[in-house]
């Protein structure tokens, strides 16, 4: 693993970038791979010619889609942030009864795929649809992405800062605004970005809520006209939206250092006494649990009961289960490994090049699965036919889609490993890559496992990309569920939804435990 370098070369590398080179090369390779779908869209736009672009993009339908997508993001994110910050504060920093139970239930909705949430609401409350339905189900399905980092950060905060602020005459409310909230900024930005990207890319949820976004429009176009330029060009607009979202996050995140200054006192912050407000406060997590966990479970139970034993067809379920497990775990492993170099660079050597590389991943991650899939279909058919409809192509698609998800977790866990350890290892004679492997990556391993879990969760529930790219004969749980739901056979779909939830549960537990562990002060 070590770089064979002469002493002179060593001096040379040291002066420029002590440890960066062995990380930059794989990062660049991964980023170039990431650019494939983007390059594909650019190529389509150029190949289509300006007139086609104008005809297909500058039309009222696109304006409507744009409005829908923007209003969806603009409504969902602020509500989700306010909701999760209040929840996390109540659960972590007050004497709310059953705080431990609530904190587990707040992660539970992650085990239910977004389109299953939507399926549950569509069958419980058929009148719920359009914008209000889309916003509500989006929040219920995605708020744990915000809750997890915010709660972890709240547990990690140094209580001395709050005490100091109190000694400077700030009231508890002023302390919350001036000391606690700014320290939650990174967690809020990261979680909001993740949700934002999901909103832009999600297909199943919005189809069932009968709400048109770019993603649903692109899939519709694709299904109507195989390999048509309309879908691809709409994808181009979506890429622009992602770019705006990414810029917003970078702007909101700022370039401040978030590590503690000094080691600080290893103490837990005292819990606020809610007093008479206790039961009122407990209503918030209770209501959310009911809506985000209770409703899906209730609906699934109802369909299972009405379907009886007949819906459990082992010849369909067995293979689907096995294929889903293999694809999830394999895809998660590959994606996490691929995310390592760029995550490491973003913490250790932030630079313009690194931001550019990172941006590549984000854009592609924000593309709906169908765009990635479409790009890979076209490219394999035109350039590398033997790879067409193979597992390798499917795994590459997963890698491209879920890289940002792996990055968020990895970046946070690498940021916690002090760079001094890497330097110490190098000074003890370890070559750069070995030094990183033995120090930072060793310390980041639990975080890496958690982000791998997130990726596996994503893959297990991924629908559209899998539908298009999977080799013949592949039938994952999500594919079966969707085909039954599309036929309005809700009872037959229920077993697959239950299995997806069960399969996701251990991953959610792992995620939750990890966030507990890393936030111990």
């Amino acid at each position: 693993m070590s770089l064979a370098v002469s002493p002179a070369q060593t001096m040379e590398t040291k002066r420029h970038a002590p440890l960066h080179l062995p990380m930059i090369i794989p990062a660049i390779i991964i980023s170039l791979l990431s650019l494939i779908p983007l390059g594909f869209i650019v190529w389509i736009a150029i190949a289509s010619g300006w007139d086609t672009v104008r005809d297909l993009v500058l039309r009222p339908k696109v304006a409507e889609l744009l409005f829908n997508t923007l209003i969806l993001v603009a409504l969902t994110l602020p509500i989700a942030i306010a909701l999760t910050v209040s929840l996390a504060w109540l659960i972590e920093r007050t004497n709310l009864p059953f705080a431990r139970v609530w904190s587990w239930l707040m992660v539970a909705p992650l085990a239910i795929p977004a389109f299953v949430h939507s399926y549950a609401w569509a069958s419980v409350m058929p009148t719920l649809h359009g914008l209000s339905g889309a916003v509500m189900v989006s929040i219920l399905a995605y708020f744990p992405f915000l809750y997890l980092p915010i709660a972890a950060q709240l547990r990690r905060l140094d209580p001395t800062l709050e005490e100091t602020a109190a000694s400077l005459g700030h009231t508890p409310i002023a302390i919350f605004v001036t000391v606690i909230l700014p320290q939650l900024r990174l967690a809020i930005c990261g979680g909001a970005l993740l949700i934002g990207l999901h909103l832009l890319a999600e297909y199943g949820l919005f189809v069932l809520m009968r709400f048109d976004t770019f993603a649903t429009a692109i899939v519709d176009q694709f299904q109507a006209v195989y390999n048509g330029p309309a879908a691809n060009l709409l994808g181009g607009v979506l890429v622009l939206l992602c770019l705006v979202l990414l810029r917003l996050e970078v702007f909101a995140r700022g370039d401040e250092r978030y590590a503690r200054v000094g080691s600080g006192a290893a103490r837990h912050a005292p819990k606020w006494r809610l007093g008479a407000l206790t039961w009122l406060a407990a209503l918030l997590p209770a209501a959310l649990t009911l809506l985000a966990v209770g409703v899906p479970i209730f609906t699934l139970a109802r369909w299972l009961i009405s379907g009886g034993a007949g819906v459990w067809r082992l010849d369909g379920i067995g293979p689907a289960l096995w294929q889903t497990a293999c694809l999830s775990l394999g895809g998660a492993l590959i994606t996490t490994l691929a995310a390592l170099p760029i995550a490491w660079l973003s913490i250790r050597a932030p630079s313009r090049v690194q931001r550019l590389l990172e941006a590549c991943h984000y854009y592609v991650g924000a593309l709906p699965g169908v765009i990635v899939a479409l790009a890979l279909v076209t490219i394999t058919v035109r350039v590398a036919l033997p790879l067409y409809q193979t597992m390798a192509t499917l795994l590459l698609a997963y890698l491209l889609m879920f890289l940002p998800r792996a990055l968020v977790g990895l970046r946070a866990s690498i940021a916690q490993a002090p760079i001094e350890l890497e330097r110490a290892a190098v000074s003890l004679g370890k070559p750069p890559l070995v030094a990183i492997w033995k120090t930072t990556l060793r310390l980041a391993a639990p975080g890496a496992a958690a982000s791998a879990a997130l990726v596996a969760l994503g893959i297990a529930n991924e629908l559209t990309g899998t539908l298009m790219l999977a080799p013949n004969g592949t039938r994952t749980l999500a594919m079966r569920f969707w085909s039954y739901t599309s036929e309005l056979n809700f009872a037959a779909a229920a077993p697959y939804a239950v299995l997806m939830v069960v399969l996701s549960l251990p991953l959610v537990l792992l995620l939750r435990l990890e966030s507990d562990r890393e936030s111990k002060p």
Binding site: L168, G169, H170, T171, V261, G262
Partner: protein, 362 residues
């Protein structure tokens, strides 16, 4: 004049009591140091005064204001007590100036001037105005923390081991700087530390804390020379503890006889000497018939201005013969520092002479 008064204060965490029935008076305008080993409850005591915790029992009063009585407690933000935490606890998301101005109202007309003045007071260059906490050295961070705490002109300032994270040279300079700045500003100061040397040199009023109670309080010189018990004696510095027989204002020990600081008591007792009270003479000059006892040098360490000598007491002295029951309580080996000008070789026999008076321990 007492300024801060803690009366019978108790604080428990679960079953273990951090502070039990503690009484403490802090004189107005004083620099009080609260010193104690780790786990003695000193940080809890500070947190109780600051208002980050409320006592289970007892009362805390600052001047005429009652801060806490029983479980009723004025919250920290209404106490107007300054607080400097162990490593400064600077807000990582704010600039240096914003940190210092944190306690000054945003719309205060002379906010900017006040920040500049505070920066000058604690010796921070105006050019550092926009620095972030992580760009500052440990010493600079403590300066900012001090300026920030002074911004609201507190009557009382609490320092929670603020120098422990700094390296030795800087620590002393910072201690002097902080002491001077706070004295000039006329702010009563309480320093909590586990470092007895720091406490002795910083304070004009010292309180020794052990197992949640104040064992002894008073001027540092008094506590150093006249500690209440052997444990306090050893905590405040090297001590030689001896069995003695008291007679007519003298303590007779195996090291010889020495006047005591109180003349009233008689009979056997335990006395304490500080090592600097032992003077070494070359054995050849010692009159064998005198009461001077003898010792042999068994080890030495060069410390620059002094040698730290390990001396083994030689028991064949007249004092030992007169009082066979008396022995050195610690061991027959003790350490003494002597000026490095006249080095004594290992193996040399020396005469040991006691100067000053012996302190009788309770």
């Amino acid at each position: 004049m007492s300024f801060l008064k803690l009366d019978n204060v108790t604080k428990r965490y679960g079953k273990s009591a951090a502070v039990t029935g503690l009484n403490l008076t802090v004189p107005a305008g004083s620099r009080t140091a609260i010193v104690g080993p780790s786990g003695s409850g000193k940080t809890t005591l500070l947190r109780l005064i600051a208002g980050f915790e409320s006592p289970d029992q007892g009362s805390i009063a600052l001047g005429d204001t009652l801060l806490a009585q029983g479980t009723m407690s004025v919250p920290a933000h209404r106490r107007g007590i300054g607080y400097v935490a162990q490593e400064g606890a600077l807000f990582p998301h704010l600039t240096l100036a914003a940190n210092i101005g944190f306690g000054i109202a945003r719309n205060s007309p002379n906010r900017h001037a006040r920040i500049t003045e505070l920066m000058q007071q604690v010796g921070l260059a105006p050019s550092m105005h926009d620095r972030r906490p992580h760009q500052l050295s440990g010493g600079q961070q403590q300066r900012v923390a001090l300026a920030r705490a002074m911004a609201r002109q507190p009557k009382l300032m609490l320092l929670d081991e603020p120098f422990s994270a700094l390296d030795a040279g800087l620590r002393e300079a910072m201690r002097d700087m902080v002491g001077d700045v706070l004295s000039t500003a006329g702010i009563t100061t309480i320093l909590v530390t586990h470092d007895q040397a720091e406490a002795l040199s910083f304070a004009d009023h010292l309180a020794v804390l052990r197992d949640g109670v104040v064992v002894q309080a008073g001027p540092p010189q008094d506590l150093y020379l006249r500690p209440k018990d052997a444990q306090t004696a050893r905590f405040l510095g090297d001590a030689i503890i001896l069995q003695a027989r008291l007679e007519d204002g003298f303590a007779h020990t195996i090291l010889g006889s020495v006047p005591t600081d109180t003349v009233s008591s008689r009979g056997s007792a335990t006395i304490m000497l500080r090592p600097e009270q032992l003077e070494l003479t070359s054995a050849s000059q010692t009159d064998p018939s005198s009461t001077t006892s003898l010792g042999r040098i068994v080890g030495r360490t060069f410390r620059g201005s002094t040698w730290r000598l390990l001396i083994e007491h030689l028991p064949a002295s007249s004092a030992g013969l007169r009082f066979p029951s008396l022995a050195l309580e610690t061991s027959s080996i003790f350490t003494i520092e002597t000026p490095s000008l006249a080095p004594l070789e290992i193996g040399a026999t020396v005469g040991i002479q006691i100067v000053g008076t012996a302190h009788i321990l309770a």
